[in-house]
């Protein structure tokens, strides 16, 4: 079985994001970019399936500007076999990403597509669900455990509001990763070197027959109200007194 993983380039999780003074977006100049952490988990899961002999080929796909190729290289260094880069400088919103990924799926015919449950920049948490809808496939979102069965089904354990839930889905299907699915590996130096020789195909939205024009217009980006530090109390007794008599919350 072939697996497709969607990997997104985002501002690194450790960067303190700053809103631009003109309110048009966030500062991205000279800011460290990385693969979205949930996409690292997606790639890791695909690589583990291949190591377990359940998967024959892993294709890593990223959509966006020229630098997204670096994110694909990261996936290739982790163990993906080849890459597809859908190149565009248009701002991509989840519906457009899902349509583009669908076009790639139609060409590649994988048995499973793995995405992150959310990208930590735009925090939309939509793309996987949208992709499975467009494909007419089942969706197994927020996954913390995947078992591929022999009869063209899979059991997926999902992180839900009350705890965990297990569903059975037919293959092919779309899965989105939650934090507890696995711990992604660091690529080794030899694998980073090897990844440089792995192929990355470039495609455009036009070639895929998709119009990626955004549906949502960003009118303004602003800083949230700042919370200021309060006081330090000296003892538990003082804390309880303040909560009772000053804040009046207990």
């Amino acid at each position: 079985m072939k697996v497709l993983v969607a990997v997104k380039r985002v501002i690194d999780a450790n960067v303190k994001v700053r809103v631009k003074a003109d309110g048009t977006g966030v500062e991205t100049q000279n800011v460290k970019m990385s693969m979205n952490p949930f996409c690292e988990i997606a790639t890791e899961e695909a690589v583990r399936l291949k190591e377990a002999g359940k998967v024959t080929e892993i294709v890593a796909v990223s959509l966006g500007n020229a630098q997204c190729a670096e994110t694909i290289r990261t996936a290739l260094a982790m163990g993906a076999d080849r890459g597809i880069h859908v190149q565009t400088d248009v701002e991509l919103q989840p519906l457009a990403v899902a349509k583009l990924l669908k076009a790639v799926v139609d060409k590649e015919q994988p048995g499973l597509v793995i995405l992150g449950k959310q990208a930590i920049d735009d925090d939309s948490n939509q793309t996987g669900q949208m992709l499975s809808a467009l494909l007419g496939w089942p969706q197994a979102t927020f996954a913390s455990k995947l078992v591929l069965n022999d009869n063209a089904t899979a059991n997926v354990t999902r992180e839900v509001d009350g705890g965990l839930e297990t569903i059975e889905v037919k293959t092919p299907f779309v899965m989105t990763t939650d934090l507890r699915l696995n711990e992604p590996r660091y690529a080794s130096l030899p694998n980073i070197m090897k990844a440089k020789k792995k192929p990355i195909d470039a495609l455009t939205p036009e070639q895929l027959g998709v119009d990626p024009t955004p549906r949502l217009k960003t009118l303004k980006v602003a800083e949230p109200p700042k919370r200021s530090a309060g006081i330090k109390v000296k003892s538990v007794a003082e804390l309880v007194d303040k909560l009772k008599n000053e804040a009046k919350v207990i």
């Binding site: 919103q93 959310q118 939509q126 949208m130 549906r215 309060g230 804390l239 207990i250």
Partner: protein
């Protein structure tokens, strides 16, 4: 304009998240309908009919909706969508699972986790772990929206007397099946709607030590939460996680114990009214947002707190 709000419920009763989504719908303005898709869900529909400001309740009662499988509920919503200008849900796990699927089927770009309504087509949503508040305007015919419950007050549970209309099942998509669940039974309030939350982090060192926090929580009638580090370490189950990629809470009082205050954790609790931090490191970032900070070893401070609350 008519607005459809997808109910979050357990068949017998309505979850409070729905009440917050109703308030967001009221801010948009228009006739509000609640969709209850469930199995044996008359109880939830009755509760929905009493919510203030609701004009009609649609009840789709079928075994296939028993576990809110996205493939089936999205199909149902698509069938109803033609009558509505807006379709809303609270940004619960179910809402996040179902609405994007319905959106894609309707060729609509969903607007995720709004925190404010500017007009019928313009909304504010937190991005970058709440570090950038983005105002977006939608050009889609139907607006499909998930709502951050903590950003809107709850609509009154009573005062309404909406009619309940049965709607036909949308049918089984036949793509997925519910097999089972592991859900912790607890007498404590739900994390996302509790008035007080007591959370522990890596500093707790073990699941066993969380008993200390539970004791404090029970004295306060509080829910227990955790940082990602505490969940990853297996101290507590996944549904305890507060943060950017866990649950968003905004209680009257949030007590963070042995939690450093990473951006991703703050994203889930910084809108709490009063924040207390107990940490042995006086430079921990959590103190930058805490109203009351106590620099202390939690293993002495927490038992002391339990005792002090007995007084």
């Amino acid at each position: 304009m008519s607005i459809l709000v997808l109910a979050e419920h357990d068949n017998a009763s309505l979850k409070s998240a729905t009440l917050h989504a109703v308030t967001a719908a009221q801010k948009i303005g228009g006739e509000i309908h609640i969709l209850v898709a469930g199995a044996g869900a008359q109880g939830a529909a009755d509760a929905a009919a009493k919510v203030a400001g609701v004009a009609k309740v649609l009840l789709a009662d079928d075994a296939i909706y028993g576990h809110a499988l996205a493939e089936n509920v999205a199909k149902l919503i698509v069938g109803l969508a033609g009558n509505y200008s807006h379709i809303l849900s609270a940004a619960t796990v179910n809402g996040k699972n179902i609405l994007p699927r319905a959106s894609a089927l309707l060729d609509v770009q969903q607007i995720s986790e709004i925190s404010a309504v500017e007009s019928a087509d313009t909304f504010v949503r937190p991005t970058y772990a709440g570090n950038a508040m983005t105002t977006v305007q939608s050009s889609d015919k139907i607006k499909i929206i998930t709502v951050r419950a903590t950003a809107f007050d709850a609509a009154a549970e009573t005062g309404g007397s909406a009619a309940i209309e049965k709607v036909a099942s949308g049918g089984d998509a036949g793509l997925s099946k519910f097999l089972g669940q592991e859900v912790q039974k607890t007498e404590r309030p739900e994390l996302t709607s509790a008035r007080i939350v007591v959370s522990g982090g890596r500093g707790m060192q073990s699941g066993e030590n969380f008993k200390m926090l539970e004791e404090v929580a029970d004295k306060l009638g509080a829910a227990v939460g955790a940082s990602r580090a505490a969940v990853d370490a297996g101290f507590v189950p996944n549904d305890y996680q507060v943060g950017q990629t866990g649950k968003i809470v905004a209680p009257d009082l949030y007590v963070a114990v042995g939690i450093s205050g990473a951006i991703q954790h703050l994203a889930g609790m910084k809108d709490s009214k009063v924040i207390v931090a107990i940490n042995k490191d006086e430079d921990a970032p959590i103190f930058q947002v805490a109203d009351y900070g106590l620099v202390a070893d939690l293993f002495t401070a927490v038992p002391e707190l339990a005792k002090e609350l007995n007084k």
